[in-house]
Symmetry: C2
């Protein structure tokens, strides 16, 4: 949710929060933040950790590598191998105790990871140990993986990237929904994740609302003021953004990752993994894939600042191809699951196939609704990453603001078009054509 | 949910149910079904009951007046006054233990009643005592109120009926939503009501699904087969019904009554009260008012069998006027609350009024979405009351099936038009005009 280069200010995100009453949430009365000195003591007797690192904790080397925003992240290495240890802090790390953030986010991350692992095996880090009281997860050390966003800035390609991410979105969306799960199980799980209030409030504020007025935590690049004024003066677009927020906040169709941008994806040249679902919630089916597409489009629009003229066109084409494949793979996998795993209460075969009726039109209508939601979220994500608190490195790493601002302006205007026209846009090809056109426009 | 004249068969509604893990639900290990002999012993020392009935329980007279479907309902009278005692049974009363139904429905009814009382004071029965373990609620004895459906069959009028019901729907919908409540409070409450799985499953099956195939519990009037075949062969309409089910099951916008038909309303000539919210859920804002409008339309279509020619036109006009007022009052009250109580995360004033921008278009768009949902639910309710398990007395009390079937057929065809065209219908006047036209049609 937070990019590494962002100056986080003290927040006011806790409006409306009340003490959680859900007794399933862990008690962290004896919580203790770990250090490179204390971590081996905590984990040295945990069989699942010893097995992967080595029996003698005194032989372990521990590094803290957290990017400094929310959590502690340790790499623990020993004679046998290495693991990653992620521990939540009771506040936003970069800000300090003045911005509290509940430890329960580790609980939701753990439960999201286990569900994602079940729904798309191998795509998220394997979990070796979870300590609920310590808000601490020991998981697979992904190596030599690096954050996808960095690879896109560096101009590197990843094999099968679009297919893998599209399938991940389809499998997690379908298999946690009433299309597939027994509805009692979906409801129990949705009730559990409704307690992830504080992290959802960050999304509700920073993503859907703050970009559209002069919120305290906002900041944007010098030179963007005219475009920002256009957006904040567009009452119709602001209403659309809030219609999307209403769906995000209440339409618990499926377990969404909740923060699926290119900073939550780690890759080698051939392998792609999804990390960090602490913002997980039951929300609209189109949320994750919409946010993901937005981040590819932002990578696309930022490329002129990162590539030589000789490389630019080819690499932008590759990003467009990946983006197209994210959606086409989503659709293909969703269709496959509709045909093979539609065991929930929705669109039952008793009403369609068992009467000799095709459910193909119902499926197409459902996909169209998911697409419309996704494109709306996509447009909003393209705004909040440039106007709200948490920017992304695709643009932030462009030091010359006279280069950065015009590229961001294209993003903002494209986002506006997506939000306003999402009901009329019927294919991702149209979205990509809009991006190619906008990529040539002089908005500022 | 169940009409009194319905032959309930053994059900299969428990698909997907799992043991509830929500520790907030009451434990009923020492539950005991009350009888007219035992009830005074149970309540004779409860101060809130004594105060309203009389200090000596031996002076009380206890009658059991439950209509025989789900629950025990007692009237307890004494020298001071009378109260109603409603106690859940662990099964569907009319069927017996072969169709279990959880006692927790009393818990959800109690919590729905307290919230409705807070949001629209005086509109639901006052609660004097709640015994969670015994699944028992002691409440105000409404007298001389009778069930509204009976009054509509008898041709009786109720003053202010449409206004009161429209306001009730608007106040409960608005004040339990993210338009008004702190979102953390709405989410905690939504999580609580997500445990009302079994009663929601009844709605999901009996209302949204069973009408559209030859489900085990279905029955319909002799002579309707051609119309039923048309509906069950209409693949596009069935898909729309399932799109509505998807919203019902997952879009927890607000606390809905969940079963707001004319059998859940009690009236005198001048007073209107709402009862029986045991099917309560966090669901779409348009659900309650859509179901309510459907039940007025069914009353309208059934009138030719209940009125003399001299009375028919006038009374049908009155029902149309009430139906119009249900919606117009809903809209007026919703607008009032939007202006005066919009304190939630949605459409915040910081994005609109505080910037000198009107939120009027956003409000109109929201109302249009609520209307579209309501009209869709309305059409589905008109189908399930004629095709699924639970019929209603408006039609069931018409003994001559050659009279009943053509009237029901009009209802079915009108419901189909509402489901298919709900996105194009923009006013309730259009709906009422459709009803007036259909009221003249010879469908069978």
């Amino acid at each position: 949710m937070f990019a590494s280069s962002v100056p986080i200010k003290r927040g006011a995100q806790q409006q409306g929060s009340e003490p959680l009453s859900n007794s399933q949430l862990p008690d962290s009365a004896n919580y203790e933040a770990m250090t490179v000195q204390t971590l081996a003591g905590r984990l040295g007797s945990v069989a699942a950790v010893i097995e992967r690192v080595g029996t003698e904790a005194s032989d372990w080397s521990v590094r803290e590598v957290g990017d400094g925003n929310l959590n502690l992240v340790f790499i623990v290495e020993g004679p046998v191998g290495a693991v990653v240890v992620k521990q939540a802090l009771p506040y936003v790390r970069l800000v300090g105790e003045s911005w509290p953030l509940p430890l329960t986010r580790a609980f939701f991350e753990y439960h999201a990871l286990t569900r994602q692992a079940a729904h798309d095996p191998g795509r998220v880090p394997e979990i070796f140990h979870y300590d609920a009281e310590q808000a601490l997860i020991v998981m697979e050390f992904l190596t030599p993986h690096v954050i996808l966003r960095g690879k896109l800035i560096a101009g590197e390609k990843v094999k099968d990237l679009g297919r893998v991410l599209g399938e991940f979105c389809a499998r997690t969306a379908f298999r946690s929904s009433d299309l597939c799960l027994p509805t009692a199980a979906r409801k129990a799980d949705a009730a559990l994740f409704l307690a992830n209030v504080e992290l959802c409030a960050i999304t509700e504020d920073l993503v859907f609302t703050d970009p559209y007025f002069d919120a305290e935590l906002n900041h944007h690049t010098v030179g963007l003021d005219p475009v920002v004024a256009t957006l904040r003066g567009d009452v119709a677009m602001k209403a659309e953004a809030q219609h999307m927020l209403a769906k995000f906040a209440s339409n618990g169709e499926t377990l969404a990752h909740g923060d699926l941008h290119t900073g939550s994806v780690m890759c080698t040249a051939t392998d792609t993994r999804v990390i960090d679902p602490e913002f997980a919630l039951y929300g609209p089916m189109g949320f994750d894939i919409g946010m993901l597409i937005a981040n590819f489009l932002m990578a696309y629009f930022s490329q002129p600042a990162h590539r030589s003229d000789a490389e630019l066109g080819g690499y932008q084409d590759w990003i467009m191809d990946v983006t197209a494949e994210v959606w086409s793979s989503f659709v293909m996998e969703f269709r496959h699951l509709w045909a093979t795993e539609r065991t929930g209460i929705l669109y039952p075969k008793s009403m369609f196939e068992d009467q000799g009726h095709s459910s193909e039109d119902a499926l197409n209508a459902k996909l169209a609704m998911v697409f419309e939601d996704a494109i709306g979220v996509c447009g909003i994500e393209m705004h909040r990453r440039i106007l709200s608190l948490a920017h992304n490195a695709d643009f932030e790493s462009i030091e010359d603001t006279s280069v950065r601002a015009p590229l961001e302006a294209r993003c903002l205007m494209m986002g506006r078009a997506l939000i306003l026209d999402r009901a009329k846009i019927t294919s991702l090809d149209t979205v990509l054509a809009m991006a190619r056109t906008m990529n040539q426009e002089q908005v500022l």
